[in-house]
């Protein structure tokens, strides 16, 4: 009997997946373990391996389509068998991502979805799925459960969706697409086509998580300027020796590696920052799991160096390099991107002199590192000299960290960066 393959749940937070591509076509024979295609989750692009040997009878979801977890994507059965109609319970796949013409200058606006905030009846006419408990909760809170986007299997609205809607600020009412009419350029030659570009899982995760952080976490900001000259000198000298050593030791240390190492050490000195807000308590963490931002063409990811407090500078450098490589080839597993206790972001390589990141929940703080720039400074002898200065910002969750211990953390970090030999002990 034919079996319907559903959109799998590939990470603990995945609610929708994008079918990036199919490796197989209808009529093709597949064996157990064959890679059917690739699915982009909110965290990574992962291979979809075949769990049912047979013939691909029908592909319900074309490449590019975005589907909730549990939605049918294809059917596998005996050759010649009729493909089953996907069960009524399964939601209809959303339309494939509209292609954006590249060369024509003609504005291409995809037809606006009839009503983008999912109504009680879904676009295919089927009932909106709401769990009995969520329905009762919604009635109590006077929320239209049918209008919520369900995060449960097959798009079912479950208790957490109602709870989120109930606690969302009132302004977060139906955030439909902004239908602002903008006139196309008079000469017909714009800088890019007018278009609503569908976003992938990663972009949606960024949007959801950062919005959640910025509206629910009381951010406060501290900044400190660091004398980066000793760090630059040590880096140069270490890299020279490491290059000479060659072989397995030929690792090149980046400025960021030093900052990661110094952050882990500063967290050891001020462990109050290595904590999370847990609703009614503050959860302090024994290990430092250090997350750092890696920019990608279409977004960013935050891989995690586990147990960074127990790793040497070289360990951290090697692991960071490997994680960056995996991030760029989108091969990071969800496990490699979760469970952090502190995050470091760095825009120094773009010449940004200072900034403040948005806290990566449930971290209590994020460190934002700017570029090292030459500028005049007054030295210990009141002389005007050329200094190598780096500005470091800390965004803190004021529920967990106060100004004083945030400042102590920056003080510890500044000391470690200005006297980098301290990182040896």
């Amino acid at each position: 009997m034919a079996e319907i393959i559903d959109m799998p749940k590939l990470s603990d937070t995945m609610s929708v997946g994008t079918l990036v591509k199919w490796n197989v076509q209808e009529g093709q024979t597949v064996a157990f373990g064959d890679i059917l295609g690739e699915v982009e989750t909110d965290k990574a692009t992962m291979e979809l391996s075949c769990t049912v040997p047979g013939t691909i009878l029908k592909i319900y979801a074309p490449a590019g389509s975005q589907l909730p977890v549990g939605a049918p994507i294809c059917a596998i059965g005996k050759k010649g068998e009729a493909a089953p109609a996907p069960g009524q319970a399964a939601p209809a796949p959303k339309a494939a991502a509209p292609a954006i013409p590249e060369s024509t200058g003609i504005p291409c606006i995809p037809p606006a979805p009839a009503a983008s905030a999912a109504p009680a009846t879904q676009s295919d006419g089927s009932r909106a799925k709401v769990s009995p408990y969520a329905k009762r909760m919604a009635e109590k809170a006077a929320i239209n459960a049918g209008a919520l986007a369900g995060s449960g299997p097959g798009g079912r609205v479950v208790a957490r969706d109602v709870a989120a809607a109930a606690s969302a600020p009132a302004v977060a009412a139906p955030a439909g697409p902004v239908n602002v009419a903008v006139a196309p350029p008079a000469d017909g030659k714009g800088i890019q086509p007018d278009a609503d570009v569908p976003v992938g899982g990663m972009r949606q995760t960024i949007a959801r998580r950062l919005l959640e952080s910025k509206v629910t976490v009381p951010h406060f900001y501290l900044e400190v300027e660091v004398d980066a000259a000793p760090l630059m000198a040590m880096r140069e000298s270490l890299n020279k020796r490491l290059a000479e050593a060659g072989g397995a030791d030929a690792v090149k240390l980046s400025v960021n590696d030093f900052i990661l190492k110094a952050s882990a050490e500063a967290l050891r000195r001020v462990p109050a920052v290595n904590a999370s807000w847990a609703g009614t308590s503050i959860r302090q963490h024994s290990a430092v799991h250090l997350s750092f931002g890696v920019a990608l063409e279409d977004g960013l990811v935050t891989p995690v160096i586990r147990d960074a407090h127990a790793k040497t500078l070289k360990d951290i450098a090697v692991e960071a390099k490997s994680l960056i490589g995996k991030a760029r080839s989108k091969k990071l597993t969800p496990g490699e991107m979760s469970g952090s206790t502190f995050t470091v972001t760095n825009l120094g390589m773009y010449g940004v002199t200072g900034f403040f990141g948005i806290i990566n929940v449930p971290n209590a703080a994020i460190l934002s590192v700017g570029a090292t720039i030459k500028k005049p400074v007054v030295d210990a002898h009141d002389r005007l000299v050329v200094g190598h200065r780096m500005v470091i910002g800390l965004s803190g969750d004021h529920r967990v960290v106060d100004g004083a211990n945030g400042a102590q953390f920056l003080q510890a970090l500044k000391q470690l960066l200005e006297e980098p030999a301290l990182m040896l002990i």
């Binding site: 603990d12 009995p132 408990y133 009762r136 479950v158």
Partner: protein
């Protein structure tokens, strides 16, 4: 508190009841001279003599019938089946006679018999020796069925079973016989029909009985450690009478339910529990109820396959994550 094995707990229950009430007798194949096929009755012949601890021929229909007749005349027999799988040759006695006599005599005749023995798979003894008939037996009004998971419950339920005036069938588990736990020396009973929350949690309720409780507790630990999920484990202890309120209270707390049993799934105990929950707590459910049971096939002889056929922590964790999706 003394730490003793499940086997010793059962023996302590029987010894205390033999001492307490002269009408209590033990009967079964090899319970006396051989000290019991699984040594549960070890030493009791020596202590109480051959009038109280009686070996029977290999004839389940015969000796269970004997026990039922004796119980109708006021004796309180505790009958051992070497395996509950062998109860099937005494089905007429166990179900028709023991289960109906109180009703058919208009309440004039009681049948205070206990039938006990192991009812479990997982020991590589093949399809005909691995039955778990608690669901079959519990489907008959007039019959009580208990499945202790821990030494404490084994002793307390056995004593409650012996003192009850209706037929009570105690399903033990050979894999649990060596499990140790705290068991008080003093006299206590675990009342029939009272479930026990073995672990408290907030995200998911697992309902289990017998060894599936132990499996579920291991799975709950993994779910907590590796997935940050807080799991409540409810041990039914009694299949009939069934403690509905403890199950429903947990459902009202967590809103998500996984049912785990070592029975085969078709018409299993958890089919009844699932019905109970949806009928009395429908509006509390945030996800469909899922089940983990033995895989629906005659008990597999190959040990490695049998280990997968039974619910194990990995299978329970995987199914729990589906309920939590």
């Amino acid at each position: 508190m003394p730490v003793i094995s499940y086997r010793e707990a059962l023996r302590a229950a029987m010894r205390e009841e033999l001492q307490r009430d002269e009408k209590v007798v033990l009967m079964g194949e090899e319970v006396a001279q051989f000290n019991g096929a699984y040594k549960v009755t070890e030493g009791l012949l020596k202590e109480f003599g051959p009038k109280r601890v009686v070996d029977t021929p290999i004839s389940e229909a015969g000796f269970i019938g004997l026990g039922i007749g004796a119980s109708m005349l006021g004796i309180r027999p505790v009958m051992e089946l070497m395996f509950w799988s062998f109860s099937y040759v005494a089905f007429d006695q166990i179900v028709n006679n023991a289960g109906n006599i109180r009703y058919m005599s208009g309440g004039l005749i009681n049948c205070p018999i206990v039938i006990r023995g192991p009812a479990n798979g997982g020991t590589n003894v093949g399809a005909t020796h691995s039955h778990t008939p608690e669901a079959i037996l519990a489907s008959h009004p007039g019959i009580k069925v208990v499945c202790p998971a821990t030494p404490y419950d084994a002793k307390g339920l056995m004593k409650a079973a012996i003192r009850d005036n209706d037929p009570v069938y105690v399903m033990e588990n050979t894999i649990l016989y060596n499990d140790k736990g705290e068991v008080p020396d003093e006299d206590y009973i675990v009342p029939l029909g009272v479930a026990d929350v073995k672990r408290t949690g907030t995200d998911l309720t697992i309902v289990a009985h017998g060894r599936a409780v132990i499996t579920s507790l291991k799975a709950a630990e993994i779910l907590e450690q590796e997935h940050g999920v807080s799991v409540e484990v409810v041990d039914l202890r009694s299949i009939r009478p069934l403690d509905e309120e403890t199950v429903l209270a947990s459902v009202r707390k967590t809103h998500r339910v996984l049912l785990v049993e070592e029975n085969k799934p078709f018409c299993g105990v958890d089919a009844q529990v699932a019905y109970l929950i949806q009928s009395k707590a429908f509006d509390e459910l945030d996800a469909p109820i899922h089940r983990v049971s033995s895989i629906d096939a005659p008990q597999i002889y190959c040990k490695r396959l049998e280990d997968q056929q039974l619910p194990n922590p990995a299978r329970v964790v995987a199914e729990a994550l589906k309920v939590l999706a």
